[in-house]
């Protein structure tokens, strides 16, 4: 990026650089308490009960996964595909449990009710209905729509143009 020449010291460089992990040396396992443990194949160290957080939970769910050892940042996995199939499966399972963003595939009804907006939708996780409060709860980014309901649940419309014309019409007053 050409930024390196402005960096004062190696120490600063270490702080600023995204610490991407080398996935080939890492193995993630879930123990019987459903804790995520990280085995370092090279050093044979085991880091117990690590935490993970997606840096872009709405827009990029297959990478940029930050691993924490307690409160300390341990490193970042750039792409889940770089992990071994076994670890990848474990991480996907954990993400599935901890990040729940149903994808809306059909819009059955969007109406005003109790001065809120009431939605009846079909998602990839089944049928659901929910309420949104203000226009700030609906964010449109190009053809994607991110919705947050009154209870802070998240929903995603991956591509508005893929919805049926009828669904698009139903959605249009809200976006």
């Amino acid at each position: 990026m050409g930024q390196e020449r402005y960096i004062k010291s190696e120490e600063d460089n270490a702080v600023m650089k995204v610490d991407f992990l080398n996935p080939s040396s890492l193995e993630f396992r879930l123990d019987s308490y459903m804790r995520l443990n990280l085995h370092n194949k090279t050093t044979k160290e085991i880091m117990e009960d690590v935490d993970l957080k997606l840096m872009f939970p709405l827009t990029h769910r297959t990478g940029y996964l930050e691993i924490f050892n307690g409160a300390e940042e341990f490193g970042v996995i750039r792409d889940l595909k770089e992990l071994s199939p076994k670890s990848q499966k474990v991480i996907e399972e954990v993400l599935e449990q901890r990040y729940f963003v149903p994808e809306i595939t059909q819009i059955r009804k969007v109406i005003e009710k109790y001065r809120l907006v009431y939605w009846e939708v079909l998602t990839d996780r089944g049928e659901m209905n929910f309420y949104t409060r203000t226009r700030h709860d609906i964010v449109v980014k190009e053809n994607q729509v991110f919705i947050r309901d009154i209870d802070s649940n998240r929903y995603l419309i991956r591509d508005i143009t893929k919805l049926s014309p009828q669904d698009q019409k139903e959605l249009s007053p809200e976006i």
């Binding site: 019987s32 005003e112 001065r115 089944g126 649940n153 007053p173």
Partner: protein
């Protein structure tokens, strides 16, 4: 009691009945057990939306799946004996309840965030079952605000979302109840209202007179060439118009007076109540929205109860009166007038609904436009510094274009609808002219005067119909505004109040006994704090941001109440003290001082308006504020705050310290009072504070640790717990101590800054 009843009683969500099929299944399979707790979730362990029921009995935990038509009930069970602990995990858009056993964790269920509070409560009760403690399922519901299992956005009784901006449940509350409450505001002025209605009715009758006089003029004066009648009829017409104008003036005055009086009553009541509400109320709401309720919503209510109700009465009266006149004159012609009525009524309603959707879209586009403006104009320096003028212009252009297209659609709609309505009414007029004209010429029972009067009345007849067809929307709007205002009035005033007549002067001894606190269930900010502060002691409170320092000090003046445990002042639980007496003994100096619009003297004496000029100057001197105050030409009479002169952060802080000095409190709280000023000002402020803290119990939250050298004791807070305690020197001697570590970091930062 059968199983269905037992399960309904054990159900955490009393608004939902336990499914009969599952109850029958349980009765058959686990007859020997006793149900204690039941709850439903909306998500299965595979992450799909599905209703599942969890039943806890005296022996086990069962998870049941609702059967599909071709399937039977499926149930998974675990013995309670294996469960050691229950954990609730709160994730992104989802939560999970886990049972911790000796061999590992079992994921019992998942839930969407709609059920977050419900499952914290469930876990709490399940723990109680494990410990064989008693609990009452009824307590889970009917709880106010944050404690209800439905969360704070929903009705605590049935879980239905509140109408936006209100705490009124659309299902449990009756609209007529809100209307009745609204009309109560008219009660003190009932005679004035009656007089106003009488004036309005007389005015309406007077407006109906001229067409009838026209009829007499044409039929009895002009056509019969009665010159002797002419002057009289002209005088009567003039008189009717004069009276009509007089009554209209009277009516407008009465309307305006009543409107202003009601808004005055409502605003004073709402504002006084707002002042009595606790800080927790303000934490959850935007200041702008609250202010809008005092100004905007009260205006809508005033419009409705004064103008709306009166207008409705007038319109209905006009409609009936004209219909009676028309039918009395000629029923056949009257029927023709009625012909376009259904079209006008239902057409207007239909148009109203369609245009409402369109307006909603326009409103969104307009908000988008404002959002672009609101971002770019205040941030114009940043836009220019990053050379994004072109990008911002394009963004605005796009929003503008969207808005333009929607407006054009609405214009098209309006330009089609209103001419159509006009057409319908003209059809009525044409038919009257045709049929009426024929009957006049053919001498079939009506005269030219009658026909002219008819036409005059006909035009007036259609107006009330369009007004009345919009009535429902007006009513809905006013009711919602009223609910928003009543939401404020219905809030409980700040905590439990204990009345006491005399102000008590305290010593200032503070004790925290097993104090815990959370703003949100499951997120404890303070955990089991035990603390004894002696009267006159200076305590330094340190810790990283989010450690709970401000929360801890906020409990002393009862800005918030401890969720568990108690805070004692001079040995008395502060919850048993008169709030005013308590707060009159406590002074607070905040990091960002707030000064009101007014003179410097008024700001200093804010806590003691009766203070003498000498005392004000003395306090300012003690706060090292006198010198800078005297540099202003107006001295202590200098206006500050909005529209007044600007003061620097350090100057504002010294005025707020003077304010605290003048109040002369026994307990003083300094919440990072010196953190946002330069070093020289800090020295002046520190001097002022040293004078202020003398002989008072003081708790100082300090960002700069060096300022705490004089503290009798320093407490280090971390993640809601006191982790270290001692004098400055004691803590500095601690190897690997948190305080020592923090001091070293600050020293290093100071060194680096010098370089």
């Amino acid at each position: 009691m059968n199983w269905q009843q037992k399960l309904n009683e054990a159900n955490l969500d009393q608004a939902q009945a336990f499914p009969s099929q599952l109850a029958a299944y349980l009765e058959e399979t686990i007859r020997s057990e006793t149900p204690k707790l039941a709850v439903s979730t909306d998500l299965n362990l595979g992450g799909r939306f599905e209703e599942q029921w969890i039943v806890v009995t005296d022996k086990s935990i069962h998870v049941l799946q609702q059967p599909t038509p071709e399937d039977k009930v499926r149930m998974k069970s675990w013995s309670l004996a294996i469960v050691r602990k229950v954990d609730v995990k709160n994730y992104y858009g989802v939560g999970s309840v886990q049972l911790i056993t000796a061999d590992g964790a079992i994921e019992l269920l998942r839930f969407t965030l709609r059920f977050r509070k419900r499952f914290y409560r469930f876990a709490d009760y399940l723990q109680k079952i494990l410990r064989e403690e008693q609990f009452n399922v009824d307590e889970a519901i009917h709880q106010s605000d944050g404690e209800s299992i439905y969360g704070e956005n929903r009705c605590p009784n049935c879980g239905t979302p509140f109408r936006r901006g209100t705490t009124t449940c659309p299902k449990c509350s009756k609209k007529t109840e809100t209307l009745r409450r609204l009309l109560d505001y008219l009660r003190p002025y009932r005679w004035k209202v009656a007089l106003m209605l009488l004036t309005t009715l007389i005015y309406t009758v007077l407006t109906l007179v001229p067409p009838y006089l026209q009829k007499i003029m044409i039929d009895d004066v002009i056509r019969k060439s009665r010159l002797d009648y002419l002057k009289w009829i002209v005088l009567v017409i003039f008189g009717a118009n004069l009276l009509s104008v007089l009554f209209e003036g009277l009516r407008s005055y009465q309307l305006a007076w009543l409107g202003q009086k009601i808004i005055y009553d409502l605003r004073s009541q709402v504002y006084a109540h707002l002042q009595s509400l606790g800080l927790a109320y303000y934490d959850k709401r935007q200041t702008g929205a609250i202010m809008n309720r005092v100004t905007g919503d009260t205006s809508s209510i005033q419009n409705f109860i004064v103008l709306g109700i009166q207008e409705t009465i007038v319109q209905i009266f006009t409609l009936v009166a004209i219909a009676v006149i028309l039918f009395a004159q000629d029923w056949q012609l009257a029927l023709i007038v009625l012909l376009p009525t259904p079209f006008i009524f239902f057409g207007t309603r239909f148009f109203g609904k369609r245009i409402h959707k369109l307006y909603h879209r326009i409103w969104r586009r307009r908000s988008n436009m404002s959002a672009v403006l609101g971002g770019a104009i205040p941030g114009i320096k940043v836009v220019k510094a990053f050379t994004q003028e072109h990008y911002e212009t394009e963004k605005f252009q796009e929003a503008l274009e969207d808005y333009f297209h929607e407006e054009v659609r609405a214009i098209k709609y309006r330009s089609t609808f209103f001419p159509l309505i006009s057409l319908a009414t003209s059809v009525g007029a044409v038919l009257i002219w045709g049929y009426g004209g024929y009957r006049v010429i053919a001498h079939q029972g009506i005269t030219l005067g009658t026909l002219t009067a008819f036409i005059g009345y006909m035009w007036r007849f259609y107006q009330p119909i369009t007004t009345l067809s919009h009535l429902n929307e007006q009513y809905e709007g006013a009711i919602t505004a009223a609910e928003r205002v009543f939401e404020i009035l219905d809030q409980q005033s700040e905590f439990r109040q204990v009345e006491s007549e005399k102000a008590v002067l305290m010593k200032g001894e503070i004790v925290f006994r097993h104090v815990s606190f959370y703003y949100e269930v499951g997120e404890e900010v303070l955990k089991d704090i035990n603390l004894h502060i002696h009267a006159g002691e200076l305590i330094g409170l340190v810790g990283s941001s989010g450690a709970g320092k401000s929360t801890l000090v906020n409990l002393i003046p009862r800005f918030y109440e401890a969720t568990e445990g108690e805070v004692l002042l001079d040995g008395v639980n502060i919850e048993d003290m008169d709030l005013n007496a308590l707060r009159s003994n406590i002074g607070v100096v905040l990091q960002e001082p707030y000064l009101f619009y007014g003179t410097i003297a008024e700001n200093i004496s804010y806590g003691r308006p009766s203070a003498s000029l000498e005392e004000i100057v003395w306090a300012a001197r003690a706060a090292n504020a006198h010198k800078f105050i005297m540099k202003f030409p107006d001295g202590y009479d200098t206006l500050i705050g909005e529209r007044g002169i600007g003061l620097s952060g350090g100057e504002k802080q010294r005025i707020s310290i003077a304010r605290a000095i003048l109040k002369n409190p026994r307990v003083l709280i300094l919440d990072e009072a010196t953190s946002s000023v330069d070093t020289e000002t800090e020295k002046l402020i520190q001097e002022a504070i040293d004078r202020l803290v003398h002989n008072r119990t003081t708790i100082a939250i300090a960002h700069r640790l060096s300022t705490l050298k004089n503290a009798h004791r320093i407490l280090v807070l971390d993640k809601g717990k006191i982790v270290e305690e001692g004098t400055h020197d004691e803590l500095m001697r601690k190897e690997n101590g948190t305080f020592r570590h923090l001091v070293e970091i600050q020293a290093e930062v100071a060194r680096t800054n010098v370089i």
